[in-house]
């Protein structure tokens, strides 16, 4: 399903310390974390984002610390999808686990920032303009699509494991 949002662009090797700096790790809600997201890269970032925005990053986005506060902050700031040529493995799991779609697109995208963009994270497609060509990214593997379809890992685990005991 195509989603239209505003595009923002950031470089390669953005680590999770930059996405969510240590002083904010005691914050609990996605919304509170979202007010500081990417401030370790540039303090101006959080003020730019609005619900539905799409973040385009260079390779290896989310490298470093396993802190789940990083994808939670992106989600809390309203980011609807992150697009990058590659994601660090733990960040990738964390984002899928909390229901933040990621899209792997081989080409690095750049731009001024704020312009409209269309993404379809299920089919792995991106369009930079309403009538422009479709850029084909990777279609996520089955288990990733399953987890996202359930809205994240906890609902997925609850739904499919009869062995899980609830209190």
């Amino acid at each position: 399903m195509w989603h239209q949002g505003r595009a923002w662009f950031i470089g390669a090797d953005i680590d999770t310390d930059q996405i969510m700096p240590t002083p904010y790790l005691a914050l609990r809600t996605n919304e509170d974390l979202g007010r500081h997201v990417l401030s370790g890269n540039d303090p101006a970032w959080p003020g730019r984002f609005a619900p539905g925005d799409v973040l385009f990053a260079g390779a290896n986005f989310g490298c470093g610390s396993s802190r789940e506060h990083a994808p939670r902050g992106l989600k809390g700031a309203g980011i609807a999808c992150v697009v990058a040529p590659s994601f660090a493995r733990i960040f990738f799991r964390n984002a899928i686990n909390i229901g933040l779609p990621l899209l792997i697109l081989p080409e690095v995208q750049t731009g001024a920032g704020g312009e409209p963009v269309w993404v379809d994270s299920e089919s792995g497609q991106v369009r930079r303009s309403a009538e422009g060509p479709v850029l084909q990214g990777a279609k996520p593997p089955g288990i990733i699509r399953d987890i996202l379809a359930h809205g994240g890992l906890m609902p997925y685990v609850k739904a499919r494991s009869a062995a899980v005991s609830t209190v």
Partner: protein
């Protein structure tokens, strides 16, 4: 199959697995710190889920402990409540340790086991011959509820070391050299396997310093097949029966790097990626505001003894401040018993109880704008240890101790 594939296959109850397979595997041990565990345990509470086996989990309050603000005190209080409710073992200051080190110290990460810890440096345990990987809070919550996790079987990149190590070249230097060579995401999602005579000669704790930093090359895990030294190390502390696993001689691997260590010097990683490495002689003379010896990477007893051997009878330079922090409460006590604490204090170092504080820029050594730290920890990202315009350089404990004395970057032979 490689050792990594064999461990995953046995825990997924499959006769064999191949790189790229998605499997569901049993987890032998998991843990979490005071950053991730409130999220993890909060999810269990929110979804009304029970813990599958509390003895397979522990929580340490180490990063922001002792509480450094009312906000973190409140988080630590919530951890006490949640661990009590879920009957999960909880280690606090005085008994605690940096969690990645604690699992090893208390004999809960063992050869042949499958370990998933709630921290990116959980991969350190692979130095004992287990499959160990780091995960986030929701993954750990799902493991707590089910005892299982999903994994993509990694391809194996083997690093075969040859030659004889020169003095003051440690496991840390081998790993920094590898990361500098293959790049910051050079082992993306892969298993890094280390072997060869130089690895055999390393102390077990130096091997752990290597596997600790696998995540700095993007790897899923790093692993060293257990030898007699490993088994002697874990036999003393093992809390469960275990079966060492070894790879097949004809196992398929995706790459092999042969690395001759004969000419290798101590390695320094310059800001602001662990892959930005130089040999020590190329960057000697750099001045620092702070030297930090500790963290899960290099806060082991082996590291404390090396640092003390250089600091004994010497004073640290007035040009900088020095912080020494053992990884665990037990190592802290042992430093006192062996007289190392006395050496550190007489040299003019601050010698602290265990905490992750300075490594992660949480407390006990945060850097101001423009300040520069030489650190034995594992990361030198922008702003990692404090202000976004501070700088961190990475090195081994011998170089850190020598630099502390001279006041500028040098090796022990320069004193």
């Amino acid at each position: 199959m490689t050792i990594t594939e064999k461990i995953i296959a046995s825990h997924a109850d499959l006769p064999r697995v191949r790189p790229g397979d998605f499997v569901e595997a049993r987890v032998d041990q998991t843990w979490s710190d005071d950053l991730g565990s409130p999220l993890t345990m909060g999810l269990l509470e929110e979804h009304g889920l029970k813990v599958w086996d509390p003895s397979r989990m522990f929580v340490t309050s180490m990063v922001n402990s002792p509480a450094q603000s009312i906000q973190t005190a409140t988080v630590l209080k919530s951890i006490r409540r949640l661990t009590g409710k879920l009957e999960i073992p909880h280690y606090e200051m005085g008994k605690a340790a940096i969690h990645n080190a604690l699992g090893i110290e208390i004999g809960k990460t063992l050869p042949g086991e499958l370990i998933a810890g709630g921290n990116s440096h959980a991969c350190m345990a692979g130095g004992l011959g287990c499959f160990a990987t780091g995960m986030g809070s929701t993954d750990i919550a799902a493991i707590l509820a089910t005892g299982r996790t999903w994994l993509e079987v990694p391809r194996t990149i083997r690093f075969r070391f040859v030659g004889k190590l020169r003095p003051w070249v440690t496991g840390k230097d081998l790993m920094l050299h590898v990361i500098g060579r293959i790049g910051f995401s050079g082992a993306d999602n892969a298993a890094m396997e280390f072997c060869g005579e130089p690895i055999d000669t390393l102390e077990v704790e130096e091997r752990l310093s290597m596997t600790n930093m696998a995540i700095e090359a993007g790897a899923q895990n790093a692993i060293i097949e257990p030898d007699a030294k490993t088994l002697a190390y874990v036999d003393k502390i093992a809390q469960r029966a275990f079966t060492p696993v070894y790879g097949d001689r004809d196992a398929e691997i995706s790459e092999e790097h042969v690395i001759d260590v004969s000419e290798l010097e101590p390695v320094i990683a310059l800001p602001s990626l662990p892959s930005n490495t130089r040999p020590l002689t190329a960057v000697k003379g750099i001045r620092f505001d702070q030297v930090y010896i500790g963290s899960c990477t290099n806060g082991w007893m082996t590291d404390m003894r090396v640092a003390a051997s250089i600091l004994k009878g010497r004073k640290v330079s007035d040009a900088l401040r020095v912080i020494i922090i053992p990884s665990t409460a037990q190592i802290h006590r042992q430093c006192v018993e062996e007289g190392l604490a006395q050496v550190f204090l007489e040299a003019g170092c601050a010698f602290s109880m265990p905490t992750c504080g300075p490594c992660i820029g949480a407390h006990m050594g945060i850097l101001a704008e423009g300040e520069r730290c030489l650190s034995t920890s594992n990361r030198n990202f922008p702003g990692r240890q404090g202000h976004v315009k501070s700088e961190t350089y990475l090195c081994n404990p011998a170089v850190a101790a020598a630099t502390a004395v001279k006041g500028e970057l040098c090796g022990p032979d320069d004193l």
